[in-house]
């Protein structure tokens, strides 16, 4: 009998300890009044707004090595794509009945919604090798290899002509003979967007099969590709009342606002840049800017001093790695959205507040700006010349950008 009780208790006691952990605490109501922590209150949240004191927009002059390749011209925007091949792949010429037929340069397009018309382009050798430091208007061109009038259906193809195979044999024997290739527009009014890393030189040839003449092909993939584009026109002066953000020129915003000191122990609830949208730059085809769906931003900290007159992104000394990457909530102009609200890392606010001399501002870039269209990004509909772009009111305007910092003083201690 007693043993049973003891054993039972041995089992019941730990179980009760565990199970009775849940409680319906009374303190939520009455305890609120007993939370007495001095006359200073329980902490106060305040917001401070600082208008930016330096702003401009800058465009990259260097090549774009992103997932898209642009070729064409639309309004002041113009772009050409560059390629290079490190080694060539030739067909087996010992096969019975081997006869080269044609050589095509093949470039798949990205999915273009609403593209119309055509794009005339020419493939040429470059006169010299090119690399990541190439800038607009690109390297000098060498001999023309072929041309095409592309109607945005299927892949862009340039036939290198009857001498194509012979040339490739020469390039394979001495790669210095083909330092690079450029695909340059020869018509106006349209820009094509193509898939980076997908271009090939395709050699078609015949050979004698078991029963008849067969056709086969060999592809040589390009080893490097990029595109360069023209600079904004007219060039920015730094005193515009509107800042161009995004667009085909890949304009980024350089902004600096003072960050007020953050008292020891304060929580940072919000540090946010509010960019008033004044409109959209005119698209190449004159279309009004449609709604923007999602916007991926990279935020880089600027380390070196700069002035509003800077026009080239290379004129800014920034960190190599973005301090933050944010995806903004959808911006719907048609539904009355009036500003882009960009959260900044709270740790960045603490850094800038702790050392105001290090505050040279930030650079905000739209990620993969021209790598469109992805069905969920940027535009519900677009043409090849369009990229998400905004006109942002500058500090010289009546609706300047501003920084909003919200902090909460620390709760009082227990004793």
């Amino acid at each position: 009998m007693r043993l049973t009780r003891i054993v039972l208790a041995t089992l019941v006691l730990p179980a009760l300890i565990t199970l009775s952990g849940c409680s319906n605490r009374a303190d939520r109501i009455v305890g609120n009044k007993r939370l007495i922590r001095g006359p200073g209150g329980l902490g106060t949240t305040v917001s401070v707004v600082n208008v930016v004191n330096r702003d401009t927009y800058v465009a990259p002059a260097t090549a774009n090595f992103g997932p898209a390749l642009l070729v064409g011209q639309s309004g002041p925007f113009e772009a050409l794509s560059l390629f290079s091949v490190s080694s060539w792949k030739l067909p087996d010429e010992t096969r019975a009945g081997f006869v080269p037929v044609a050589v095509h340069f093949v470039l798949p397009q990205r999915v273009i919604l609403g593209a119309a018309g055509s794009l005339s382009a020419e493939l040429s050798l470059t006169a010299a090798p090119w690399n990541s430091s190439v800038t607009w208007p690109g390297p000098a061109l060498g001999a023309s290899l072929g041309s095409t009038n592309y109607n945005f259906i299927g892949q862009l193809r340039v036939n290198l002509g009857p001498n194509g195979y012979t040339e490739i044999q020469q390039w394979a024997a001495d790669t210095l003979l083909a330092p690079g290739f450029a695909l340059v527009r020869t018509s106006s009014g349209n820009v094509g967007s193509f898939q980076a890393g997908a271009a090939v030189f395709r050699i078609f040839y015949h050979y004698t099969g078991p029963d008849s003449t067969e056709t086969d092909s060999v592809d040589t993939h390009v080893s490097l590709n990029a595109y360069v584009h023209s600079a904004p026109s007219p060039p920015q002066t730094g005193t515009e009342t509107s800042l161009i953000f995004g667009g085909g020129f890949e304009c980024a915003l350089a902004l600096r606002a003072s960050v007020p000191p953050i008292a020891a122990g304060n929580s940072v609830n919000e540090v946010r840049l509010i960019l008033p949208v004044a409109g959209t730059p005119p698209a190449g085809n004159g279309a009004a800017m449609p709604d923007t769906v999602f916007l991926d931003l990279d935020i880089l900290r600027i380390r070196g001093t700069w002035s509003q007159g800077v026009t080239d992104e290379a004129g800014l000394t920034t960190d190599a790695v973005a301090v933050s990457h944010v995806t903004l909530a959808p911006f719907f102009l048609a539904q009355g959205d009036t500003a882009l609200s960009i959260p900044l890392p709270r740790a960045l606010a603490r850094e800038l507040a702790a050392d105001t001399t290090s505050n040279e501002g930030i650079l905000i870039k739209i990620r993969n700006l021209n790598a469109r269209p992805v069905p969920t990004s940027y535009r519900a509909s677009q043409t090849a010349a369009e990229s998400p772009s905004f006109l942002i009111g500058s500090r010289e305007s009546s609706r300047p950008p501003y920084l909003r910092l919200s902090t909460t003083s620390p709760p009082p201690g227990r004793f």
Binding site: I6, V12, S23, G38, V46, P410, P411
Partner: protein
Amino acid sequence: MRLRRFFPPAGVWMVLALSAVLAACPPPARANSVFSIGGLGEPTLEENARIRALGGAGAAEHGPGGFSLVNPASIAEARYLSLEATMLTARRSVSSRDLGSESAYESSFPAIRLVVRLPGGTVLGGSYLAGTNAEFQVDRAESAGTASFLHIEGTGGINFARVTLARRLTGQLRAGVDYEVVSGSYREEWRRSFSNPTLAQARDTLEVDWDRLGRWRFGLQYARERFALGASYETGRRLPTTYHQRTDGAEVTTTGHTLEIPDGYAAGFSVALWSRGRVVGQYRRQRWNDQSLESDLVDFRALERYSVGFERVAGNEGGLLATLPLRVGATFLKWPDLLPRAGAADVFGGVAPVDEWAVSIGTGVLTHDRGGAFDVSLEGGRRGNQDELGARETFFRATLSLRISDETWK
């Protein structure tokens, strides 16, 4: 059926298994008081259910199973390896002056103790016990600056990890000594949320901790056949204390504070009235004062606990009721905390004491070898007052204690 048939040699494993189970249990909610939101928290009666049923009067408890945590000499007659754990479940009803009433259920784990008799007659003990309980939870709106909503979770309190040595010096005299390390901390998690979605939640952690330093407690018992006297004295200890405040990206640490655990004493008696009845009593005092901890939010006075109890010892014959012990007791406790009066922002607006009384009743069963036991006590009482503190609590507590032992350690 004798217990020893079943325990040896499995008893050792059973003790270890219970220890493992208890250690693996998630920490339960603490039996907190609405007055735990400020000050040091609710003073915990660390005794087992048997002594709690006697009002907490344990200074003169002695014998093979008469373990008290107030007097280290009380374990001098332990015969076996014993493990004792106590669990407490409480129901509180809080009445406020202007906010109505509400109820709560909580549980706590006041103490666990391991005792083993060493060769030569010395008894070694180890225990972990709660000194104060500062758990609370608050949800309230805050209107200072941008409107926000606060959710605050408070945990912690003062705890003790203790080692005890005791032995019987003569036929009537027993002595014991404790060395205990003052552990624990006070921790609060503040979460402040906003209706404005652009404002991120503010999360702050407030923590008060101290250097883990130890202090001594000395105990004596003098026991004759029909009465026993017991007393203990505990030394004070000054603890360098550090305040931490942490939030995302920032931490502020403040040193230079001290928490002084005061010295104190307890004295008690046990007198047999007849063959099966005895009366026990105890007075306990810890000399908290306004120098114990500098604060604008709490002041201190001496902690005092008065305890009296009566026990009818279990009989060997008769029905079930006659073979069970019956214990009744009463206690009156003066909390050391002097808290700001209702409506005051700090102690400069006036302070009020927290006085607590409780009555208790309990029983239990004992194994034949008197090494194992299962005791319960039921307690009811009241603390605080609506006029000065704005709230009064009525509480009912059920305490279960289990002691298991292994007599192969004889």
